[in-house]
Symmetry: C2
């Protein structure tokens, strides 16, 4: 007998029929002799509908009241799923975030979990019940209802799995698992059998939105064995686990891309100590996230440097730098969009020199020039012009031997929250 | 400065525009220098929609999970209303039933309030906030979410008003107040300026569904001053209060009717001690509510008796009595529908003999025979054939001087929960 945490996203419980299918799947798991704790997201478009209703009344609603509103979505899901399980002749008990023992910091809309007191969940399990927990929510010490922000239900599942020492945490979604790259671009993308936490983190942060990075970090920290699989079929899915236990030999596991990239360049910066610190300190105070930073060599006492931000933050970042014009010695600031960041990710890269060089070579053979480069132990990212994104990804996918022979991608637009 | 509890029913907050109007009304109350605690029901059809969703998954859903599901309706309302108030530049804080301190017995679907610990509500009031509380819900000692059943939000409002010693508890609904009778039948029905708790209880129980009887009882017990008024205009409404403080002189305050009546007669019952006890004991065990009971005189050691039940329970009641046939000595059981119970209610009746006699006289002058009579200190009820309901009510309304000169009824189908 194993203890499973099974997380179902919003599209997996999007209507009555899907809810019934999920209930059946959970009951089958119990029939195999396992204990089941289920984490659910809000049904389909519920979250968006609630946001729409709120915005009609208040374009900038208070975060506390948004949390009150949003948490009802998961509460509806969990109650309905419990009813569907009862209909199949099994006992089920649903619990809101606070009832399941999720204690969070006092921040609305993006609270972090401080502690989990899963006593009621464990008691219900001991009584032979299937436990259904509302994802994405918790409670502060003062009894205020909070939410975890994007990817919150994944985090609920992983954190609960850690708290009750579950054997596996299964993330059911509308795709079959983690792919070597976006199957909409590369038809022969491979479904990965397994991937390390660190690789998954890089892929998750880089736009392959199957698992939220926060949940992966939580899983890594607590050594929770994750399985990403489809709620629409019984295919095996992808196991996310520790690197040490993985098969060796694969250098590059996956290729991710991110279109949400703008580049800002500050030209002719006088080479005075502290200039970089001042620029990025100012951007941080404006809560602008900076990704890749590249500085050119110094010539004639002047340097150029460039960095990337998300498209939405580009204008704001330029404004921040323009405000520094008075006392910061630089000649010009420019910005550029229409870019894409392509990243190859693989735990094997660290022990295989030349992987990055091969990437540069493949890209240049497509006639594309590389604007920026960033590397870590398990990934290399290049910022290029977005025009030839598909060609570059296909070429890299082939170059790193990721093309599958006869793989068929199963899934649709991915299931987030 | 007074402390107000203001309760708004589902149709009063049924859409964005109505929600905004309610928010404005609350802010106006605060502008007059008062403190406001608002109790809200679920928006419009939300409750019915949730029930429909549940029934699709499970025709007989577990009561615990139904409570989980249903309480989201009020939670959505309270969050949205708080946002609408914020939009008008005021601070508002919403609280679920458990957050507002409602502790209930461990029964799902119709829990009674055991205690209220309104510390958080009072703290928010002290901070100058408008407090919005979800109606109809509470929590058991074990942290289980419960609901109060029909009329639950009225009960929330009255109980909270008692717990925080509010000066007034206003029940906003879609009618203007309590009328002397149904204005759909009698165009010149009078809106009552005031009415005693006991009269209101009789009227509420008798089908004038503006206020739930349970809430009225709670108000009477805790001496909470109630005002029933419209959320769609600023008319004065009806004050429900203690008899001792009321104007004297009015004998009959209102006329109520109930079409949900079936009469069951047991004929030729042998006059043995304990027969009545056995019949009604059996009906009680079958959870059938019996209203009026009339026994005719004994003739030849046999008696006939009749009683009324709701239409839905009629067949079941007849079946219960048929099951007694073996050992209960009676000749025949018959049932009859198409009836109506008309009641005149007035605290002044007790000191004015002849009020009931006048009622019988008015009814007989309409050529209608009276099938059953029941009286209490403040009401007289007659069961008659339903054919001439309107004529009889109009005649009674005139006979007891209730006709208004130039009153115009304002309101629609009434707003329940």
């Amino acid at each position: 007998m194993s203890l499973y945490v099974m997380k179902f996203g919003g599209s997996s419980v999007g209507n009555t029929e899907r809810m019934q299918r999920v209930a059946k799947r959970i009951v089958e798991k119990q029939d195999e002799g396992h204990q089941c704790v289920v984490v659910v997201s809000a049904m389909g478009d519920t979250t968006d509908d609630l946001i729409d209703q709120a915005k009609l009344l208040n374009p900038d609603p208070p975060a506390r009241e948004m949390d009150m509103l949003m948490t009802t979505g998961e509460q509806i899901s969990m109650a309905l799923l419990s009813m569907a399980i009862h209909q199949l002749g099994r006992e089920a008990a649903s619990f809101t975030g606070w009832q399941a023992g999720f204690r969070t910091e006092s921040v609305h809309g993006k609270a972090r979990i401080i502690d989990i007191l899963p006593g009621r969940v464990q008691e219900a399990l001991r009584a032979g019940k299937i436990v259904v927990v509302a994802g994405f929510q918790g409670m502060t010490e003062d009894g205020e209802i909070t939410t975890f922000g994007r990817g919150g239900s994944d985090t609920t599942a992983v954190a609960l799995a850690a708290a009750i020492s579950a054997d596996v945490c299964e993330i059911y979604t509308d795709v079959d698992g983690i792919y070597s790259t976006d199957p909409r671009i590369v038809k022969c993308a491979t479904k990965l059998k397994e991937i390390s936490y660190d690789e998954m983190l890089e892929l998750a942060s880089l736009g392959a939105a199957v698992l939220h990075p926060r949940a992966v970090e939580y899983a890594k920290h607590n050594k929770v064995r994750l399985v990403v699989r489809s709620s629409f079929n019984n295919n095996e899915g992808t196991v996310v686990k520790e690197e040490a236990t993985m098969e060796q030999g694969v250098v590059v596991s996956g290729i991710a891309y991110d279109k949400n990239v703008a580049r800002i360049s500050i030209l002719g910066v006088s080479d005075t100590p502290g200039v970089l610190a001042e620029v990025f300190g100012e951007l941080a105070r404006a809560e602008i996230n900076v990704d890749i930073i590249v500085q050119s060599g110094v010539q004639n006492g002047e340097a150029d440097f460039s960095f990337t931000v998300s498209l939405a933050e580009c204008d704001n970042a330029v404004a921040v730098i323009n405000n520094l014009k008075g006392h910061l010695p630089y000649r010009e600031v420019t910005s550029e969009d229409g870019l894409v960041k392509i990243s190859i990710v693989g735990a094997g890269m660290i022990s295989h020199p030349g992987v990055a060089a091969q990437m540069f070579d493949v890209i240049s053979k497509q006639g594309v020039s590389i604007k920026m480069v960033s590397t870590s132990e398990i990934k290399t990212s290049c910022v290029i012009n977005g025009d030839k994104l598909n060609e570059v990804i296909k070429a890299l996918h082939t170059a790193y031997n990721l093309d599958a022979e006869d793989q068929v991608f199963v899934g649709g637009p991915q299931d987030r929250r």
